[in-house]
Amino acid sequence: MKLEMGYIHISDIEFSSESKIENGKLYVSTDALKALVLEDEKLKDVSFDIARPGESVRITPVKDVIEPRVKVEGKGGVFPGIISKVDTVGSGKTYALKGMAVVTAGKIVGFQEGVIDMTGPGADYTPFSKLINLVMVCEPVDEIEPHEYEKAVRIAGFKAAAYIGELAKSLTPDETKVYETETIKEGMAKYPDLPRVAYVHMLQSQGLLHDTYVYGVDAKQILPTMLNPTECMDGAIVSGNCVSACDKNPTYVHQNNPVVHDLLEEHGKTINFVCHIVTNENVYLADKQRSSDWTAKLCKMLDLDGVIVSQEGFGNPDTDLIMNCKKIEAEGIKTVIITDEYAGRDGKSQSLADADAAADAVVTAGNANQVVVLPKLDKVIGTLDYITKIAGASENTLREDGSLEVEIQVITGATNEVGFTTLSAR
């Protein structure tokens, strides 16, 4: 399968009467966007804001971060099974707006975390401080249940991102990159001497605020399955997850999955990147057992030599991670896992909830309990309610000078477990 990605660099965003992209600048009509978002009767109002790198702005609580993309050639549309009809994506041509994102924010539940600081020490920990963010804060109608609100905001974000992506459809990309992978047989013939490698991608799948969708299917209902590496680039996997800010994968991370991209870089050179396997992280233990059996089985059926396994979220996914690792290693397939740690504020606690000697090659995205002081910023988009009161709290979370003492677990993407950032620990 072959996908040509065209990258259009966005240098700034401005509100305007007409939506368009000109000379790398995105003009957004908030009226048009608002009308689109409020098509959903569960939403009462929406407000828009722009946060640029370096500005004294804090966005919280963040729900999702999405990169606007548009399908230019080939089957299907972006976010298949969600806002485009179900069709296999990942081939043809897709444009992405680089350097920006749509950020959805809003207090879906009373305890939501998720901070993006555009400047200061907090900005170092979130990858999204480097983007120009179009932030939408959605307000629900009264008496709405959290799961309805979550769904409305989730869909609103995708619609907005698709709307903006559509503006780029007739543009000429600043940069083009072609990604191509082979079928099983072709790949074996073409790269007979290269080790066969796959990516086992664990998706959070446990209920409200903890779900991920694959082609619109709730991931807790899937059996582990295979994707072409390019499918995620068209939004085949999206986030419905907004708990555990530091180590959940926003949709942006699924679209730009770094393991997929870094394996594609090596494809045909040092490895044969065979496929992208998705599996879930369910609450029910028999599901964990079955899913890890299946990933190991798929890896074996594909005659793999090596696998990278990534995790999402805190606690019980450690069990899935270790089960996957152990069972895949038991098939004689070399495994590297990516995780993050909860080693306590002092760094002295047991980092993972599970462990095994088979996990002898671990990449860590750092200790999520590490404390950081976030200075007071000039502007807050959203609300500081929860962060100042409770999350990772201590006596002096909100300090006298207005700064916040928090654990980095409240920062969106700080310890991302698909290896999206450079933070680590020893």
Binding site: D124, P195, V197, P258, V259, H261, D262, L263, E265, E266, T270, I271, D305, G306, V307, I308, S310, K334, V336, I338, T339, E341, A343, D346, G347, K348, S351, L352, A355, D356, A357, A359, D360, A361, V362, V363, T364, A365, G366, N367, Q370, I408, N416, E417, V418, G419, F420, T421, T422, L423, S424, A425, R426
Partner: protein, 350 residues
């Protein structure tokens, strides 16, 4: 600003006194002297710090007189009032490494003076002290002196100034069980791909999070004649005399209990209970024999099936106790059991 004052500890070999034949050299204070590797440290410190005195001690002397040597050296350090204490580096010299670890952690703990040592990662001193005092990883012989000083001097200065210490791989110290965040050059996914390529090629790679290690110990020979054997009871189920006289904590306990059961033939609800917070205490509190079978052992002793039930039993709280301290308790318990002539142990766990 005045220079940071440093006291340096070395063995007889590095003090040019002699090799193994001089290893019984007792601890000696040399105020104002800079000896052997101290010269290299002084050069590396530049204007920031200087060695104000050196303590020399033979390795055999130190290890055969640990308590006295430690006390004497602590006194010497105290008199010189340094801001920083450096021991070694000891490279792969086992007894020197143990001495450096012992004295550096003692100075830090007892005198509150920041301390640093350095040694080869396989030196037995590492296992014993890496979690207690910063220890720079050195090469396995004195040929690595220049490299060792290059890593130790800047870390020593940071410690003396009370600056934040980075992750082990940044600062060059041996991992001490404390996880520290830092930013890598490459993102995690790229590091994972690189690690996988190495693993696939059978090349060496370093995991970023080592799983807790576990080793095995070969079984000891069986007891030949039970009827002459002295058997001891040990439990990780936290059985203590009623009222928990030693105040053993219910989890992450900072001590173990040693209790005399001379004349005790049965544990009852009135006399014994559990201090363990990791399981439902109802059953053990009603009858602690359910965890520590003293009643049955007394019967077997009386019937001559076993020679003797040891008159002391040992109790720990398995729950949440750090592996390192659990190991230390167990080693101490084993030492006492052997000293008391015990032949075999029944260990019960909850």
């Amino acid at each position: 600003m005045s220079k940071i004052k440093v006291v340096h500890y070395i063995n007889q070999f590095f003090a040019n006194i002699g090799g193994e034949e001089k290893a019984d050299y007792p601890a000696e204070k040399r105020p104002g002297e800079v000896v052997g590797p101290g010269m290299a440290f002084n050069a590396a410190f530049g204007d920031e710090a200087e060695i104000i005195g050196t303590i020399v001690c033979g390795d055999t002397y130190f290890n055969e007189n640990v308590d006295k040597a430690t006390a004497d050296i602590l006194e010497m350090v105290k008199e010189m009032q340094p801001d920083l204490f450096i021991a070694g580096p000891a490279f792969n010299a086992g007894r020197y490494g143990v001495a450096c670890g012992t004295i550096a952690s003692a100075v830090q703990e007892k005198l509150g003076i920041p301390s640093l040592t350095g040694m080869y990662v396989e030196n037995p001193g590492v296992d014993m002290y890496a979690s207690k005092v910063y220890m720079v990883s050195t090469k396995n012989s004195a040929a690595g002196m220049r490299d060792a000083v290059k890593k130790m001097a800047p870390l020593a200065l940071k410690l003396a100034k009370g600056e934040a210490i980075g992750a082990s791989c940044e600062e060059g110290y041996i991992p001490n069980g404390v996880r520290v965040n830092f930013f890598e050059e490459e993102r995690g996914s790229k590091r994972a791909v690189d690690m996988l390529l190495k693993k696939l090629a059978g090349k060496a790679y370093t995991t970023e999070y080592p799983m807790p290690a576990f080793d095995r110990v070969a079984p000891n020979p069986a007891v030949k004649d039970l009827s002459k054997a002295k058997i001891a009871l040990v439990t990780s189920g936290g059985i203590v005399p009623k009222g928990n006289p030693d105040h053993i904590e219910s989890s992450s306990a900072s001590k173990f209990g040693e209790y005399d059961i001379t004349g005790v033939t049965d544990l009852t609800a009135d006399t014994y209970e559990t201090a363990h917070g990791g399981y439902d205490p109802v059953y053990a509190n009603a009858d602690a024999d359910r965890v520590l079978p003293v009643d049955v052992m007394r019967d077997l002793e009386k019937e001559g099936v076993i020679g003797e039930l040891h008159n002391k039993y040992y109790a720990t709280v398995g729950n949440g106790t750090a592996v390192a301290s659990a190991k230390a308790y167990a080693a101490e318990i084993a030492k006492r059991l052997i000293a008391d002539g015990v032949d075999a142990v029944i260990l019960t766990s909850t």
